[in-house]
Amino acid sequence: MLTDLPWVSGSLARATLVHDWRRFLPAILSVAFAGVLMLVQLGLLTGMFGTVTVLVDSIPAQLWVTAPATRSVDETADIPVSLAALIRSDPDILASDVLSLRDASWRSADGQRVAVTLVALSAEAGAPVCPEPMRTQCPMLASPGSVAVDRSEADKLGAVPGASAEIDGHRVRVVALSDGMRSIGTTYVFTSRQTLDDLQAGDAQAADHTSFVLGRIAAGSDAGRVRDDLRKLLPRTTARVWTRAQLSRDSRHFWLRESGVGAGFLFSTTLGLLIAIVITSQCLRGVILGQLREYAVLRAMGIPTRRLALVVVEQAAWIGAVGTVVMWYVVIAVAALAQRCYVPFTLSRGGLLVAGGIGLATAIGSGLLALRGLYRVEPAELLR
């Protein structure tokens, strides 16, 4: 057992923590608070940026062809629809399709105007461009003039199933509400390619162009290799080929860099951790100073300071561990609340583990800082 190792002084560290828990509570809460601050920000940021790539992440096609200058999925420029047929010439491509995004103006029944982005999908459940969460809604878009919006945007658009609205002066009908297809920065209105063509009637060039060409490959095929093959097929000046994972990752990184929120996140996380270090080390230091005479007796009895230091480090590690558990509970509760309120919030197991590790390291680092007090222990002082 760990506590039976000769250098472990478990009973004192744990007993003091349990007995004097009120003294340690601020340290535990500060570690938990720093972790919650970090994870909630991270959850909101990744949730928010996850909405930027919601189309990439939810559409099952593994390969995406974009305009050559595209840096993020929301930076769209037109490419020829004919590329869909071109990529199908690659034997690894099982199916190809197009996905078109167009800016439009929505006018609800009560006259409210909202700038939206039309997302034109294939109105088939199994089509490479039908997002996974919309498998039941895609076929409902087949009827001309049908649109779907995300449930989280419904209030803003005044949209309920069966309601009518106008897009660029054309009447449309809301046939379904989707879940989990919300995007930051724009409001998606899903429709079929046919409805989009009807809305753009007269724009011949628009009909020959699209925003993305998507390819589906066989299960087990290496998307990276197929992408490289397609890059040889398509001139670099015409289009750029991405794997789904690559486009999603690069889009999020682009937003993190360009928006400046990455730096803000780092700043506030560092600030939170610093506060936790100060509170925890001061708390441990206070406990050490309160037990200086008891420690001095042990020093007089020939117990080396480094062994006493282990007691403090162990106390710090327990503070970190308990703080981490508190942090996890709070963050999981926040995530549940966010989901209930349709707030984009992403919580990953890896993020929880990393935050736990940082919390533990913060507490142990604070314990090491607090050790200064222990080195002031002078057994001869007990005799004055």
């Binding site: 000769p6 002084s9 080396p304 001869a380 005799l383």
Partner: protein
């Protein structure tokens, strides 16, 4: 100066001098003391406040390096040892009971006594068994699981004595071991120290103001301004 009985000493001091402060404020507290402490005997060091009793105890106990002189434990010159060896010597051979009980408020009596053994690398079961035995010796076998807040002053001091004696030290240094206790508990602690000394052959050096200890001492050293002004055999011998 002649020591009490003329037998080989466990602990001895020669030419022990120490002063606090510097320059004009320098105040000598020990002046070329020569003392011997015999095995299995209890020596009281008495004297007025400021006479140098506690400084003497610290120098003898390996806690405070004197300015001059030598303290010998067996063949070892204490202050000639490397710090780590002195630490080892304190750990193996010396024990201390201080005026305040200095017990950890979170630990039960058995945990207090087992703690130095655990920190010295002893496994939990063995440490607890020895602690239980030591507490039984001081009459606290029914208070093993009580914390300091649940113990009387006398019981706390007995826990501190059990903690000091659990390692079976050669020398026990006690600083005012009865000053915080009422007469009944003080008497009990004195008798206990005396009995344990006889049973284990431990040498006790106790600094005290308490005249109740005199009848139990084998030897009494009276200090005045850092000098042993009188040394005599106590009533116990």
């Amino acid at each position: 100066m002649k020591a009490c009985p003329d037998v080989p000493a466990t602990l001895s001091a020669h030419g022990l001098s120490h002063a606090y402060g510097r320059g004009a404020t320098r105040a000598p507290v020990l002046r070329e003391l020569a003392l011997r402490f015999l095995p299995g005997q209890m020596t009281l060091v008495m004297g007025a406040s400021g006479s140098g009793k506690s400084t003497l105890l610290a120098a003898l106990g390996g806690l405070l390096r004197p300015d001059a002189g030598e303290v010998k434990f067996g063949a070892n010159s204490l202050w000639g040892l490397a710090p780590s060896l002195l630490e080892q010597l304190r750990k193996r051979e010396f024990a201390y009971v201080f005026q305040g009980f200095n017990l950890f408020s979170a630990l039960t009596a058995i945990e207090q006594v087992a703690l130095p053994l655990r920190l010295d690398g002893e496994v939990r079961a063995a440490a607890r068994s020895r602690a239980e035995q030591a507490l039984a010796e001081v009459g606290l076998d029914r208070h093993l699981h009580l914390r300091p807040a649940e113990l009387s002053g006398g019981e706390k001091q007995r826990v501190a004595i059990a903690r000091a004696l659990v390692k079976h030290p050669s020398v026990l240094f006690a600083d005012e071991p009865t000053s915080a206790l009422d007469s009944l508990n003080g008497e009990r602690v004195i008798r206990l120290l005396r009995e344990l000394t006889r049973r284990h052959g431990t040498t006790i050096v106790a600094v005290t103001h308490d005249p109740r200890l005199k009848p139990h001492a084998d030897c009494i050293v009276n200090l005045c301004d850092g000098v042993a002004v009188a040394e005599r055999q106590g009533a116990a011998s």
